[in-house]
Amino acid sequence: MTETIAPARSIVVERTMPHSPEKIWRALTSAPLVAEWLMQNDFAPTVGHRFHFRSTPMQGWNGVTDCEVLEVQPPTRLIYSWNASGEQAADGLKTIVTWTLTPVAGGALVRMEQAGFRPEDEMGFRAMGGGWPRILGRLEDVTANLT
């Protein structure tokens, strides 16, 4: 049997926001502001800058995301890598996050694409945290957002 290589997958989230691209750009590129809506970080809007997002570690995940700024085009385009870190770096997530801001009437379309998920990332995710407690914790997060 020949092994088929499944293509990498992406997540795309798009939303029109009633704010100027310049203002949204600030929220995307000021480290203290990014910390307010995403995660603690030492981001700087400079190509080549390496930084980390830090979150609460969980079983099977050290909570740190390794990143590097790849492209900065104010106020329309921001790209950084989003990779697993430490001992998990070798086999873990290696993705690229691209932010695109497009002016629209009354605001801007905010588009986030996280690209490069491989099938083995899903396997790793399933293994991560040893099953039920983690899955249930995530369920609570997800269902909490339901109205």
Binding site: V13, R15, K23, W37, E122, I135
Partner: protein, 107 residues
Amino acid sequence: MPAAPDALFKTLADPTRRAIFERLAVGGEQTVHALTDNAGVSQPAVSKHLALLKGAGLVRDRREGRETHYSADPTALRPLIDWMSLMGAFWEGRFDALENLLDRMDQ
């Protein structure tokens, strides 16, 4: 054909129902009586929640003598624990937080 994610979410969105499901998932097979002792609601209420969980395919039952034993079915959760859908939910949540921040920011 597993239940659609929306139906599963709806079933698990109720906190009491989710607590019952979690007890079965973590604690293994249990009877209605054992579940009622810990649920903080009446036995008919627990039975009703179990029926809904069973309807969504999240819970299985097994009759033994006069007692029915309930257990969680992990395969039913498959549509919800898909890595991509969880990551999507993560970013949707971050978008909500971003919008909330933008509303609070000066121009």
